[in-house]
Amino acid sequence: MDLDLAPADLSFRDEVRAFFADSIPDEWKTTVRAGLRLPADTLTAYQRRLAARGWGAPTWPVEYGGTGWTPTQLHIFWSEASAADAPAQYHQGLELIGPIIFTYGSQAQKDFYLPRIISGEDWWCQGYSEPGAGSDLAALRTRAERDGGDYVLNGQKMWTSYAHVSTRMFVLARTSVEAKRQAGISLILVDMDTPGLRIRPIHTLDEKHHTNEVFLDDVRVPAANLVGEEGMGWNYGKVLLDRERMVAAATAMFLPQTLRAVRAAAKRRRVGAATLFDQPGFRGKLAQLEIESLALQAMVMRLVADAAAGMDSGPRGSMVKLRWSELIQQSTALWVEALGSAAQHYEALDAKGEGSGDTPPDMPLALQGALYSRVTSIYGGSSEIQRNIIARRALGL
């Protein structure tokens, strides 16, 4: 799906296309197409390449080391990345804490943290969720008590993705008990090496390690690690809503990668005299998903166009996130279907190693992708929470 691009945008597109043409090794591609994250060291290498090109923080303003790109340029960048089977950038630092630091952080915080995010030197994880407090952040119980020049943190965080590979965590913690539950919550930056901080892995159904529990026992951090004002952490989280629509838009643009993998698998699989791809029933199912993916790309374009025009897009970011998660789930499921019974060969028991023909070439990534995709309608606000947001913000119900 092409846009009508101005000449300047066309030459930008050529520049981006040339960059991606030789930047993505083949061994990344199946992982990327499965919607899975590459290992941290690989992603760091990717981030360094982008940073060296000046493209480390595509959505940030120039003054903080970003590109200052227009929404149209961002759309072009993501389209080209998607078409080249490049991975999505690791977003916790870039899209979640980075913008809060450059909007509300102290000068010292900006000077120290922002360049380290762009270079990939720091990986951030998000200490928001807790047992009993997922999207209902007002219910969180982790405490931060002021003790001289420090805050002392006690509590437990849940579903802390990539805590095990992160160097830093941004934590929401209660600094006072208020009548209104949203008040009295502060945002504090924590070095993952701080004594008293313990990580316990949570193994998930895809048999990969993405997420963790994090225990905070008398974790002592300098008071200078408070972002903005004490008790205002809840409000800082809300500015992310505006950025999340662009995160959702960027993510949705990578969906065609998975559909290309389904196509490739179906073309490879022989069923009788022809391939699965030639069977009308399978082809109809694939076409249906490709059609819905096109509709999703059209929704992203409208979102980006509105952003370019400075218009409020309302809850359309939530709509895109919701539809994308449904479609990535269906697409990875169809990929497994394309593999057929061989999709049960998850791991060779007498493995001779990769490429030995013991398992289909896209296993176990296809199945891992299908299993991992179940989280997409849960994280970042479940589909039910997104529907509540849309009902309230768009429909006034």
Binding site: M1, D2, T72, A295, A305
Partner: protein, 368 residues
């Protein structure tokens, strides 16, 4: 990249809305439908006076040369107010086929724009919508023999554009030509039908009917496909207007309808259903806008248009079924406009090919 309407396009959209409110309001819809052809003729001449009828016709053909986005702005209003006039068939599809078609076509085109005559297009045979599935034959002297099973909006047409085979066999990609036939031609039998959405259709039986060749012989298939894509996108905009109106009506209803002492809109299950309806509306609007803009290109993305045709139909039917469901019993009544939106969406799902046909077309066009 521009999705918002320009000021002129917005004026068209507003004008269609005002017209719909005045002439096709939901409250007196049944009375307006009961007027039949008389009411439709009156509205048609008022639409002509507003310049709508000549809007999609090329400037060289005596029209205003409006593009797909202008047509979209008008058609949204047709959808929102469920106007039953044959706008797409007579003013979008047919003029695209008449364009450059010779002296008789040049004579008819301005009269379509002023509302003086109506012209319908007869493409469908027993195969359903299949551009190449033409069995109707023209002999060397251009006398047509065959059956056209469904002529969209054809009941009140003064002329028909008829596809017929001048060479080759049923299913061949070449050898198809277009002809003009007056409604009172000798040997032509017109059977007229009303559809459940109020549109007035017909079927044609042609028995050695004298006809005038339109444009070049044997080469009409690509012209038909291109004209049909313009008509399809216009109908998509109509579908978007209709599903948005049905959603808005449902939203109003769940805010006021009380059950168990509260408005049913306070129930989360109802809220989530309405959210899904509004997402489907957004999806349909987004892909329709992109399809309309693609039509403006010299090389429209026909796979995208086929995809839009499939997806918008799915969204339209799902949304209006949900609108009926959420209204409960009254949603099924003839008195309430949501039931009329469902009827129209089900018919839109069949116009110029059903969604399976277009999914097949998408597969063919996106094969690589």
């Amino acid at each position: 990249m521009e999705f918002a309407y320009s000021d002129e396009q917005q004026m068209l959209r507003d004008s269609a809305d005002r017209f719909g409110d005045q002439h096709m309001g939901a409250a007196d819809r049944l009375a307006r439908l009961a007027e039949g052809l008389e009411g439709s003729r009156r509205r048609w001449s008022e639409m002509a006076a507003l310049g709508w009828l000549m809007l999609p016709i090329a400037e060289g053909d005596g029209g205003l040369g409006g593009g797909p986005v202008e047509v979209m702005a008008i058609m949204e209003g047709f959808g929102r107010h469920l106007m039953i006039e044959p706008y797409v068939t007579c003013c979008v599809l047919t003029p695209a086929l008449l364009h450059g078609g010779g002296a008789l076509a040049d004579e008819l085109l301005p009269k379509i724009g002023t509302g003086e005559i109506r012209v319908a297009t007869a493409l469908f045979e027993d195969d359903g919508y299949a551009v190449f599935g033409v069995a109707t034959r023209a002999d060397d002297g251009a006398r047509l023999t065959g059956v056209k099973t469904h002529v969209e909006d054809g009941a009140d047409a003064d002329w028909f554009v008829v596809s017929a085979r001048t060479a080759g066999d049923h299913g061949d990609r070449t050898g198809i030509s277009l002809f003009l036939v007056p409604a009172d031609a000798e040997g032509l039998t017109v059977r007229r039908y009303r559809s459940s959405d109020g549109h007035r259709h017909c079927s044609l039986t042609l028995d050695n009917v004298p006809a005038t060749l339109l444009g070049e012989r044997d080469t009409a298939a690509p012209r038909i496909a291109a004209a049909a894509d313009r008509a399809i996108v216009a109908h998509l905009a109509e579908a978007v207007g209709s599903m948005e109106a049905a959603t808005a009506a449902t939203l109003d209803y769940v805010r006021t309808r009380q059950q168990f002492g509260v408005a049913i809109g306070t129930f989360q299950v109802i809220q989530h259903k309405l959210v899904d309806m509004s997402i489907a509306c957004e999806e349909a609007r987004a892909i329709t806008s992109v399809a309309a803009r693609s039509l403006m290109s010299d090389t429209p993305d026909r796979a995208l248009i086929a995809a839009a045709r499939v997806r918008v139909s799915q969204c339209g039917v799902v949304v209006t079924q949900a609108a009926v469901q959420l209204h409960g019993g009254v949603g099924t009544s003839d008195e309430l406009v949501v039931s009329h939106h469902l009827r129209r969406q089900m018919m839109l799902d069949l116009i110029l090919g059903d969604r399976d046909y277009h999914r097949g077309r998408f597969i063919m066009l996106s094969d690589r």
